[in-house]
Symmetry: none
Subunit: 400 residues, 2 copies
């Protein structure tokens, strides 16, 4: 459903909601056992919770579509990820906790190596260490462009983020990475007439960077791609009329929560820290988004046993959440990351929704297979928020 | 699916269909027993029917959205209730069996009390009795407006319906109820330039009403809201190419069936009367919509046991329907009304579809939990009509 349809139905209440996103939650059966990560793990608390919850499977974008973390979480937050698209440059900046502002244009940067003729010899400059990347970024911050602020932020290895801030900027720009060796970087082209001034500015930046990096080895040039302007999303706390907090140890997920307008609560590097933060701020907010990263990491590494262990660790924290007695508790994920596939996948993700009014179903286990028979069915991620609001008694009747 | 897609696929046949809507059918488990109303009730005939039916859960508007009776039934009749919205004024008029015509504009009215300065002192005029309301409505029928017919119809207590009939009327009007005491009623404002003439007419009506009610106590003024024009819905019997009859003891449901163009069969005040009407007209129509109200009433009252009893009473009627041997028999509801929530709720509603070609599934009981695992899945209400037509062998192949 569209946000425009939901918003007028939202009514205030004092109920509390917790949305726990287990990154890359869904998996696939290990051929030797026929059991998925969730089916293999000893997760008694999640199973018990599922038994008294309404369960289902969430499809974040569409059948067969592999969601990135951006669309995956936007969907969970109630935004149709096909309608509200966020570019890679913006995600890169969000991923390092950079506080993007409306109108900012962001790009992904690589340090690369060029020969004396300016032709690319290594698109990643030998994957220089993050430390060197940071020093080179510091050097590039000397660049001044007319009428705009320039931010150059190290990400990891040879990667950095470029952000321009100022009036009238456009993200409709082509990339400079020719995706080939032996040729020079491409100049930035405007993909739309309105982007001409921004293209000129970025080309000035590249020219200056080339001069400033001339004596650096091996990172003596930059490549830029994924230009995008921060999209203007309707604000989550306004649409859903609730004080909303994001609690995430990883910067990317704080960035996504900030993007939709949640307040970001300072927390530590572990999930235990996140829970402490939740406890501390329990009274001050209506809605909490919590993020657990380990499941995805293990899935991406193709480490089935590590993913099982990550699920079991998470399960051991469930008894710490329940005493907080949220009126609605949802456990799900932003996409599947089966160890078998070593990365994100298109498989719909189990979801459990627990509330006094959830109408428990026949599902007794929190697994892909069991949740497929749940009363929530298989449904789009952006329909989860209306379900959460309904269970929190925060939606009024549609039509008399 | 859209009606425009379905309509060209419809072919005629001699098959008979019965759609039985149990108002507010779905429920929630009683905490003490963990069993819902349907799970508690002794309903052997419905269970037996479910066992030889295709089953599923119907979602009338969207996940989490609480359907009113209007959207709930429009969905069952095949109309996407988000696309085809019906305003409160229209529903109020339908609810008293008023025969609205295309182009009519309807509003909900309250008799209220104003002081000598015209300021509201009671927005409901002390909830005057329906009898007095009827006499005051009779008085207001003396009002004449240029070029339009005026209908003033009592509803209940202080509530009445105002209907204007004539060319070029618009429902895009603001309300006159300031939702506050100590201030005068608002004048009606046009929310769109096309509504200016209608706004003038309604303001004339209010002025006259004020004069005619001057000596009445306590109901000496009117408040109007929920203005709406009867929406132009594609006609059910034409789209689906079948003689269609609505059989409902309650006026609101006759009104909704009439709204989509079904013929309304005269019936008595009980469900037994409805069945007698069905038997009597069995040969004359292809499609019958039957409505059973008691389930909703008990749910709205929060009376779990009464809802169980209403389900058991309904179950006892099933053996009277089966001998009529409809080619397709569907039992479902327009929304859930769990006794636990004392009102409409967002929970999807069990549905069973019985036909010689329905492809029975593993479902053996007509309950929320069991139907969640049925072969129909969880699906939008407006996809039910295509399923009914298909099972009645009234849809042709799509594409060669």
């Amino acid at each position: 459903m569209e946000l425009e349809f939901i918003a007028p139905l939202v009514i205030p209440n004092t109920t509390k909601m917790v949305l726990l996103s287990l990154d890359g939650l869904g998996g696939l059966p290990r051929p030797e056992t026929g059991k998925s990560e969730l089916e293999t793990a000893r997760i008694p608390h999640l199973h018990a919770l599922a038994a008294r919850s309404a369960c289902g499977l969430i499809r974040h974008v569409g059948p067969g579509i592999i969601p990135g973390s951006g669309p995956g979480h936007l969907g969970l937050f109630g935004y149709d990820p096909i309608r509200f698209q966020v570019g890679r440059g913006v995600l890169e900046a969000l991923g390092i906790d950079f506080e993007l502002r409306p109108g900012d244009v962001a790009a992904r940067g690589n340090f690369c190596t060029v020969d004396s003729g300016g032709r690319i010899t290594d698109r990643r400059a030998g994957r220089i260490r993050t430390e060197l990347c940071a020093r080179l970024c510091q050097r590039l911050r000397a660049i001044r462009l007319d009428g705009v602020e320039v931010f150059v932020e190290p990400v990891k290895d040879h990667r950095f983020a470029l952000v321009l801030r100022g009036p009238g900027l456009s993200g409709k720009l082509g990339e400079t990475d020719p995706q080939a060796l032996g040729v020079p970087p491409l100049p930035v082209k405007a993909l739309h007439p309105e982007a001409e001034p921004t293209a000129s500015l970025v080309n000035r930046f590249i020219e200056s960077a080339c001069q400033l990096l001339a004596d650096s080895t091996p990172a003596n040039m930059v490549l830029l791609r994924g230009f995008d302007r921060l999209p203007e999303l309707p604000a989550f706390p306004e649409i859903f009329r609730m004080k909303s907090a994001g609690v995430a140890a990883y910067p990317m997920y704080r960035g996504l929560a900030r993007l939709v307008g949640m307040e970001i609560l300072k927390t530590g590097p572990s999930f235990a820290d996140e829970l402490a933060t939740l406890r501390q701020h329990r009274e001050a907010y209506d809605f909490f988004f919590l993020h657990y990263k380990d499941t995805d990491q293990a899935g991406e590494d193709g480490d089935f046993d590590a993913k099982v262990a990550a699920l079991e660790r998470l399960d051991s924290f469930i008894p710490e959440i329940l005493p907080l007695r949220p009126d609605v508790l949802v456990v799900t994920g932003d996409h599947s990351s089966p160890a078998l596939l070593k990365g994100h996948s298109w498989h719909p993700v189990p979801v459990l929704l627990s509330s006094a009014h959830c109408g428990a179903d026949a599902v007794r286990e929190f697994t892909e297979r069991a949740c497929a028979g749940g009363s929530l069915g298989v449904f789009p991620a952006h329909d989860l928020m209306p379900l959460i609001l309904a269970n929190a008694l925060r939606l009024t009747k549609f039509g008399a």
